[in-house]
Amino acid sequence: MIERLAANARVVVALGARSVTQTARRPQLAAPLLIFPTALLAIQTGGAGRAVDLPGFPQVESFLAFMLAGAMVQGSLLAGNSGGIALALDMEMGFTDRLWVAPISRFGVVLGRLAGTAMLGAFIALWFIVLGLVFGVGFQEGVLGVIWVVVLVAASAVAFGGIGAAIALKSGRASVVQGLFPLIFVILFLSTAFFPASLMLEPAASVAEYNPLSFIVEGIREPIVAEFETTDQLKAIASVIGVGLFGILLSAAALRGRARRGG
């Protein structure tokens, strides 16, 4: 039992390392994950920066400080989607076929890809933290807050990656996973990633109030702009776990379906 677990752990580590190496070797695939959220952050900060003067806008050091969490979550969503695309490409090229016939757990193959996504999520978090520090954002919860932000962004990338992996396993086509790109923005716009829910227009404001993505964003935002609140952090953790479980269940179902079809 322990031996089998250790073997699967080695598979996860090896596939995770492969996933990271793959990203490093093809920076043109990873660049949009950073460039797009960074460009949008810069433009929205300059374009809507005066929003902090609106009555009812939360007390924040700057609009950039408020927006950082949104950019990180956007990056983690894109990282999850990109992990799904990479898994689908592996399937299209026949790489996963070789893994399916190997004496390893099928779920280990998916976890390996998600391990790479976690690393990518952590890198995205660090990128935006450095960017924030360079442009004068003071992290209110200090080093502990920074570490917590990295953990939460990496965990949410894994959670979103689970959904991306499930769609990749179900469809087996990279173009299908890539087609989720517009959907990512729908989910983002219906959350508090870019603006407080109280200042958004209806019906988006009501949806944002209950969108699990909003809880994750607020959990990441809190240590940047304020002090830790246990309730908010518990909501963020529960949302990450909920989204993650949803992705795992979908992936497991897709794997079972694929095994039944002999894929």
Partner: protein, 264 residues
Amino acid sequence: MRRHLLLPPSVRADLETVRALVRRAMNEITRVPGAAIPGVLAPTIFFLGLTSVFGNLTLLPGFDSESYQSFLVPVSLMQGAAFTGAATGVNLARDIEQGWFDRLLSSPAPRPVLLAGLVLSASLRALIPAAFLLIVAFAIGAHWPGLLGLLIALAVVMGMAVVAATWGTSLALRFRSQSAAPLMQVGMLLLVLMTTAYAPLELLTGWLQEVARINPVTQVVETARQGFVGPVTWADTWPGLVALAGLAILFTFAALRGMRRMTY
């Protein structure tokens, strides 16, 4: 028929080539509609999302429109045009990869005629996301810009698609690979967003205000926007048209240079 007889045979042949290339581009929409759907939906998704999120920016003192939908419509129209134009570059890169473009180059058709076919098809295709967006925008309360305002906005959409198509084409001819697609799309998107996209110039902050001031696309956006937020005037029209013409000439030169350098 009589009009055709008045044209020299070489010009007639060129027009036929342009027509054939435009028809081919249109066939792609009818034969592979799934490929066109993201390009049609994306500007509308951004429009709906951004109005929901930033709609209350109109409450800021100095915001010159009471309706954020009306303020944002032209930006989303430009986005749609930019995506469509960039898609022309991506399609050309695919044709180069698959060797189809080599066959075009070896034909007796002059290279500017080939470029004209690509660019004209982009400007026509850009009307599809624009029409979809306008229907949604009017349905959720964007102001009717008047017939003249609407025609100016649509002309600007077609012009912006020409700019984006020549940009995409010049990149496709340089990199000769679909992997340059993000550069084509993101380059144009940034050009459109680094304008008065989110708020009037006076309300922009920091670097964006400076960039928007000198970005020629700001004039283009303002020209398309005028009918949606106020009266249509010549003073608000000509700067955008000049900016569009300047950008189109610049990128057309780049694309033609790339075509001349292309060997088969």
